[in-house]
């Protein structure tokens, strides 16, 4: 019983400390799309800051759109094709790192971002390069994930086709 009480007390204390730390640091941390629905003003104030995404996360039909990080915007400005792929079950940044590494190694890929909020993989290809839906699906499988849908071009940017 002592053990259980000790465990509960220590865990509760740790939780309290971390919650306090998280509350305190929330305003200073760089969250690309975190809390994008609840904190629109927060995102608007920070839009344009380094490393931040600034879209509302979805296109007109409610599907996730391209997440606009600094790298993604830079690649788009150079004329690369935007692609958004819905990834099933991507909730962990440490696991999603495999996708960053596998897609990031490809010569066709100019920029990549895995958005854990929208569960979408944002890609911008090198100008003139192409990547088939099947290749995207195969690379995602190599990373341990499955792709539910792929959108390209204006649809990926959040505009209805």
């Amino acid at each position: 019983m002592n053990l259980l009480i000790k465990t509960i007390v220590i865990t509760t204390a740790l939780c309290y400390c971390l919650l306090a730390t998280a509350e305190d640091s929330h305003g200073h941390m760089h969250h690309p799309t975190h809390d994008m629905h609840e904190h629109q003003n927060h995102n608007q104030q920070e839009a344009g800051s380094a490393g931040h995404a600034s879209h509302d996360g979805h296109n007109a039909t409610g599907e996730p759109a391209l997440t606009l990080t600094e790298d993604i915007e830079s690649a788009l400005a150079q004329g690369g094709e935007p692609i958004v792929a819905d990834v099933l079950g991507v909730v962990c940044d440490f696991c999603a790192l495999a996708m960053n590494k596998i897609f990031g190694k490809r010569e066709e890929v100019a920029a990549i971002y895995v958005d854990l909020d929208t569960k979408a993989l944002s890609l911008v290809l090198v100008p003139g390069a192409s990547m088939s839906d099947q290749t995207i699906a195969d690379l995602a499988v190599q990373a341990g994930y499955r792709i539910a849908d792929v959108r390209r071009g204006s649809e990926a940017l959040g505009n209805p086709s």
Binding site: T7, C15, L18, L19, L97, D115
Partner: protein, 104 residues
């Protein structure tokens, strides 16, 4: 001849984690060990890609061959990019726990 095997499974969301793992080692006269561990955790905030992620976890270990067969270890897990660190303390065995993983 030695036999070694194990199973690991987990379920998680952005803020909840449940995991189970076990392993079995049979090495003749040298060793015969089985252990299983159940872990629950939650994240006090939801980090995005590239952020520092924090998880508070509790692991319950069961090692039938040990005098204290069931032990509890509260721990804290941090990860950012390819680096994952866990630090905790086994309350039953009075031993610290430290795990470190780097994803190449």
């Amino acid at each position: 001849m030695a036999i070694y095997g194990g199973v690991m499974a987990d379920w998680e969301t952005r803020s909840l984690f449940v995991g189970y793992r076990n392993r079995y080692l049979e090495a003749g006269d040298y060793a015969s060990q089985f252990m299983q561990a159940f872990r629950v955790g939650f994240a006090p905030y939801e980090g995005d890609s590239g952020d520092l992620h924090t998880w508070l976890m509790l692991e319950i270990d069961h090692r039938p061959s040990e005098p204290e067969s069931v032990t509890a270890t509260p721990l804290i897990r941090f990860f950012k990019g390819p680096l994952l660190v866990e630090a905790g303390y086994n309350l039953t065995a009075n031993q610290p726990l430290f795990n470190f993983t780097y994803r190449f």
